[in-house]
């Protein structure tokens, strides 16, 4: 039933989303939209090289991670701005929070089921695209940072 989607947690994240806003000088950003409904999202990522075991970071002069080990870089911070419904906003809130500290390779491996698990409510077929918009945006930003392209069929 549709109303099961609107549990307290979802409504709370819709009304008070985490990580809403922008980052100055983000290392990666991506704007995406759902042409069916006009929902829009933009994500901003601060990416840092993962600290080595001795606790020292490995960064080049610009502060950016070198491309060859970039998959190990972590998302140090993430913000988003969006215009969307309760499901897409709550998903963006929950997902941005969960990817903090994850490596880009881990972000690349995220699936739709991870988002559904975060939401914890049954998402009706008509609303799947709303739920997955932020996942697509975050993965696209990660792929773009790595100089790769998101394959929507595969990912």
């Amino acid at each position: 039933m549709t109303n099961a989607m609107y549990r307290e947690q979802i409504l709370e994240h819709y009304k008070h989303p985490l990580n809403q806003g922008t980052l100055e000088k983000p290392d990666a950003r991506h704007h995406d939209l759902n042409p069916l409904c006009g929902d829009e999202i933009e994500v901003f990522l601060k990416i840092e090289n993962k600290k080595e075991k001795n606790g020292k970071g490995k960064r080049d002069e610009s502060g950016k991670t070198k491309p060859n080990d970039a998959g190990n870089a972590i998302i140090a911070d993430i913000k988003f701005t969006s215009q969307g419904c309760a499901i897409s906003t709550a998903a963006a809130s929950l997902l941005t929070e969960s990817v903090k500290g994850k490596t880009l390779d881990e972000v690349k491996a995220l699936t739709r089921d991870d988002v559904f698990a975060l939401l914890g409510v049954p998402v009706s077929a008509a609303r799947v695209k709303c739920a997955l918009l932020s996942l697509k945006a975050i993965k696209s930003a990660a792929y773009a940072y790595l100089g790769e392209k998101l394959d929507e069929k595969r990912d």
Binding site: T2, L36, E40, A86, S124
Partner: protein
């Protein structure tokens, strides 16, 4: 309103209205997107395939003659319904294809760099993107008539170099009804070389069109929004204009004589109907028109107007609900009510209504330019037609109250 229409009898004619959704009876309030089909239309399509099916305009077999007769009778019926000549009625798939036909075949031949094309902020994408792209192809100017308080700006002055003026008979979002005759007249007085196209998608299902006297040169509409099957659409054009227009699609049926290196074209309307046409759905459109005529368009309009008024007034009485478009008691409107609930996205309104089997549309309604004008990302839209009831309006209103409760707004 029951004294005008026998709603119970009408509802019995539409098998889908017996559908249960989430264990409740369907309340279908999305008629501006597409309408449901009466048994008479379903039967007409079925009868064509079961008893008269063959290709048209070709063989001399009895079946082929019957199929051709069914197709051309449908054309005559459509023509009579909108007061046009049968040869001026071109069958297409839908409004969008009709407008593209005009934009490519007429537009490419007539619009030149520096000409002006005038459209409106009220237009849905199907009457906007083809003209926008024609303007880009031809380096023509593109002008918009703005929307003020739900109405087209009557003070708009057409540039003298206007070659084409395209506008909607009715708004698919605001419910506003535009006076076709006076807009067409104004355009042609201020811009004597203007050709006028009316997008009839949101008007034809509700109002008797009189195209011969409309002052327009083209009119496009879809069958599926007026009880007919998907895939049945019409482009009407004045015969003199159609005769002078080059073809849009080339191939079979549209030719007169084909030689190795040149061809000549068939007369209208065949010139614009290349390939095997969608005969069954044209037959379905004809049956839909018969159903609308039998029921009475004026009665249908009075009925949907009363429901829209009831819905709009009850929705406006709910704190935090905003409606868009003309006031509830306006006469120049259709049975559409667009609205938003403060702090709730239209999609969520749509989902919660769906949980009570109330089907509405939520989104940008293929009218993103108008959404920009209204400064909203989306609206919820309820749209009424002949089979809707006061009880369904109450279910809509109760659903919106439930939305507010769930969102605590």
């Amino acid at each position: 309103m029951a004294k005008h229409l026998d709603i119970e009898k009408i509802r019995n004619d539409f098998p889908i209205l017996k559908r249960r959704i989430h264990k409740q009876t369907l309340a279908y309030l999305d008629n501006a997107a597409t309408t449901q089909k009466p048994q008479a239309v379903i039967d007409a399509v079925s009868d064509f395939y079961s008893n008269h099916y063959a290709n048209v305009h070709r063989s001399v077999s009895t079946l082929a003659m019957e199929a051709t007769e069914a197709f051309e009778s449908a054309r005559k019926n459509v023509a009579a319904f909108v007061n046009a000549r049968p040869e001026e009625v071109i069958f297409t798939r839908n409004t969008t294809e009709s407008i593209n036909l005009a934009a490519y075949a007429w537009g490419n031949a007539h619009v030149r760099a520096g000409d002006a094309i005038v459209i409106t902020e009220m237009d849905h994408h199907s009457n906007l993107v083809p003209w926008q792209q024609l303007a880009l192809r031809k380096k023509a100017e593109l002008h918009y008539i703005s929307v003020e308080n739900g109405e087209l700006d009557g003070d708009f002055e057409f540039p003298e170099n206007t070659k084409l003026f395209a506008f909607p008979h009715a708004s698919n979002v605001l419910s506003t009804l535009n006076d076709v005759r006076s807009w067409a007249k104004k355009a042609k007085i201020e811009a004597p070389n203007a050709t006028v196209l009316v997008d009839g998608a949101a008007g034809a299902p509700h109002f008797q069109l009189d195209l011969a006297k409309s002052g327009a040169d083209f009119c496009a509409f879809s069958g599926h929004k007026m009880l007919a099957p998907m895939g049945s659409g019409v482009l009407w054009g004045k015969k003199t204009i159609l005769d002078a227009m080059p073809p849009f699609l080339y191939g079979g049926s549209m030719i007169s004589k084909v030689e190795q290196h040149q061809s000549t074209w068939a007369d209208v309307p065949a010139k614009f109907e290349a390939g095997t046409p969608n005969v069954a759905d044209a037959v379905g459109l004809s049956a839909a028109i018969n159903y609308l005529k039998k029921t009475g368009l004026a009665k249908i309009h009075a009925h949907e107007l009363a429901l829209a008024r009831q819905a709009q007034e009850e929705l406006e009485a709910i704190p935090g609900v905003t409606t868009y478009g003309p006031p509830s008691n306006a006469k120049n409107r259709t049975g559409i009510v667009s609205f938003n609930v403060a702090g709730v996205h239209a999609h969520d309104v749509g989902s919660i209504l769906d949980s009570d089997a109330v089907a509405i549309r939520s989104g940008h309604h293929c009218a993103q330019v108008l959404m920009g004008r209204l400064q909203v990302a989306a609206t919820a839209r309820a749209s009424f037609y002949l089979y809707n009831t006061e009880d369904e309006v109450e279910r809509l209103v109760a659903g919106v109250k439930k939305v507010k409760k769930i969102f605590g707004s």
